[in-house]
């Protein structure tokens, strides 16, 4: 039944995209001056702001400093007006805490943690508008913010969602497509090496379909990487041009 609504006979989805098409991505680096690094990303109607502070000395008394690696502290927060129904609390609920843990796991695998022992890096993401793929937009925004802050990374980390309708995998699902009941696979990966950093799935589908849904999500991650990389290079050349660097 849901196959009818989510994918039309011509292969078009509810918002007119094809099954393998990503939503429109617009980015901006260096949004705030106060944070060491900041970035803003729009993936379709999902809008996320990320700010990075660090590396700095351990400020949190709750966390214990690690002698060999930097401590990565993440906070996922949603604006009260970000969802269709007004949220009572922006953060502190189970879902936000779980997302914060996922972000921490993703970035501990990406940041060169051995370079800053006994220090702390804070990553704060704020979802201004939620329309599906919130975690993915957060990961993408945080990657840009980390690059803006100049923190060394092993590779970019990009994230993408994928779903399955009848036998066709869909990439980058919106909240309407997610609530219509299809399975949702979230994947965060290092695009150059194809290494998966985080994999999460909801609902169910047959295990025979799993490889092709993962492939579609990985492809989405690689495409997002191309877009983000272009944005970073453009930002750096703009900054360099205004400061007076030589054009290579």
């Amino acid at each position: 039944m849901s196959g009818f609504e989510l994918l039309s006979d011509q292969g078009l989805r509810l918002d007119g995209r094809k099954s393998g098409e990503l939503r429109r991505i617009q980015t901006r680096l260096g949004v705030f001056g106060q944070a060491d690094g900041s970035a803003y990303i729009e993936q379709g109607n999902t809008k996320v702001l990320a700010a990075v502070y660090g590396p700095h000395h351990m400020r949190d008394t709750r966390l214990r400093p690690n002698q060999e690696k930097v401590v990565v502290n993440c906070q996922y927060s949603m604006a009260v007006f970000s969802t269709g129904e007004r949220k009572r609390r922006p953060r502190g609920d189970k879902k936000s805490l779980e997302m914060s843990q996922h972000l921490k796991q993703t970035f501990e695998a990406t940041i060169k943690t051995e370079l800053y022992p006994r220090s702390q890096i804070d990553i704060f993401v704020e979802v201004l508008q939620a329309d599906g793929g919130n975690y993915c937009a957060c990961v993408n925004a945080a990657t840009l913010a980390l690059i803006d802050a100049g923190i060394p990374l092993k590779d970019y980390v990009t994230a993408c969602t994928a779903s399955l309708v009848l036998d066709t995998p869909l990439v980058d699902i919106s909240s309407l497509e997610a609530t219509t009941g299809g399975p949702e696979l979230t994947l965060a990966a290092h695009p150059k090496s194809g290494q998966i950093v985080l994999l999460e799935m909801s609902h169910r589908f047959h295990i025979d379909h799993l490889p092709k849904v993962i492939d579609v999500a990985l492809e989405g991650c690689k495409n997002i990487y191309t877009i983000l990389d272009k944005a970073v290079r453009r930002h750096v050349s703009n900054t360099g041009a205004s400061v007076g660097w030589e054009k290579s």
């Binding site: 106060q34 927060s77 604006a79 704020e126």
Partner: protein, 290 residues
């Protein structure tokens, strides 16, 4: 909020500048820094505003929801303020770190908007005693660069100006509860009149004079501030003293006069800009944070 450390010479320099009516960035005591504002940036909200005053960045979303009115005021709607200090502004706001400041700001806003001449809450009533609109004004503080209260109040006023409330028609059902029908048409909506909505003006006392729109450095030099809520007609709806220093009664009087003159002028400029933005209509390109 500010963990700036200034040397004695820097503080003296700021103090002398204020005395000579020529601050560090060249402003006089009553000048404000540049303001950039855009309304209607959050699509899920009935009204919204993104306002940036120099380095202070605020995003406000207003949602209108249906509720039963309070028993004490069955013919009035309600307005509720909620402030969220995002950790993006400073790591100290992580988790519950910003809760004290948030509670303070929402208290001041509630008290500023409490006066009946400010907002006619009877406009929000649909059916007396049964249903009314409640406006949830949600404020998100993204960056703090001095003068937080004023920026928040300006953003709130602009967001309320841009709020579009759907038109409701009451269709009675025989023998049952009267049914409400919300108009589906996004273009048919009513607006709230903000012609008397106040703006907070913070007067930071440095030495013997008060300055408007203080930078974080100036805030470090001052011992006390006076917060005055000024309506466009020059009326004051709330006054609050912040900080550990003290004021002489005569300085409070002169400070309030300064606040009223700045407040009236500021109210006028903001309304002009809001009307100018509204006149651009649907052709206006939305920038947001990009």
């Amino acid at each position: 909020m500010t963990d700036l450390i200034l040397s004695e010479s820097e503080k003296t320099f700021i103090l002398h500048g204020v005395e000579q009516n020529f601050r560090i960035d060249g402003r006089t005591r009553s000048d404000l820094r540049p303001i950039v504002m855009e309304t209607d940036v959050v699509s899920h909200a009935s009204g919204s505003c993104h306002l940036r005053l120099a380095n202070t960045d605020i995003l406000v979303g207003v949602k209108a929801e249906l509720e039963t009115p309070l028993a004490a005021h069955p013919d009035r709607g309600r307005i509720e303020f909620f402030v969220d200090c995002s950790a993006n502004a400073t790591p100290a706001f992580e988790g519950r770190g910003g809760d004290d400041l948030a509670a303070d700001i929402s208290r001041v806003l509630t008290s500023a908007y409490e006066s009946p001449e400010v907002l006619d809450l009877r406009e929000l009533c649909i059916m007396k005693g049964r249903t009314c609109w409640i406006l949830y004004v949600d404020i998100l503080i993204l960056e703090v660069g001095g003068n937080l209260y004023d920026t928040v109040s300006m953003a709130v006023k602009s967001a309320l100006f841009s709020t579009k409330i759907p038109l409701v028609s009451v269709t009675s059902v025989d023998g049952g509860e009267p049914e409400l029908e919300l108009s589906d048409d996004p273009h048919s909506s009513s607006r709230i009149s903000v012609k008397n909505a106040p703006i907070l003006v913070t007067l930071t006392r440095i030495g013997n004079h008060c300055v408007v729109d203080s930078t974080p450095e100036e805030e470090t030099c001052s011992s006390a501030s006076l917060l005055v809520s000024v309506t466009p007609s020059g009326h004051i709806t709330t006054v609050k003293k912040i900080g550990g220093g003290s004021f002489q009664p005569s300085s409070i009087a002169s400070a309030t006069k300064q606040a009223v003159s700045v407040g009236v002028h500021l109210n006028q400029s903001i309304m002009d800009k809001l009307k100018q933005e509204e006149s651009m209509g649907r052709k206006r390109e939305k920038v947001g944070f990009l």
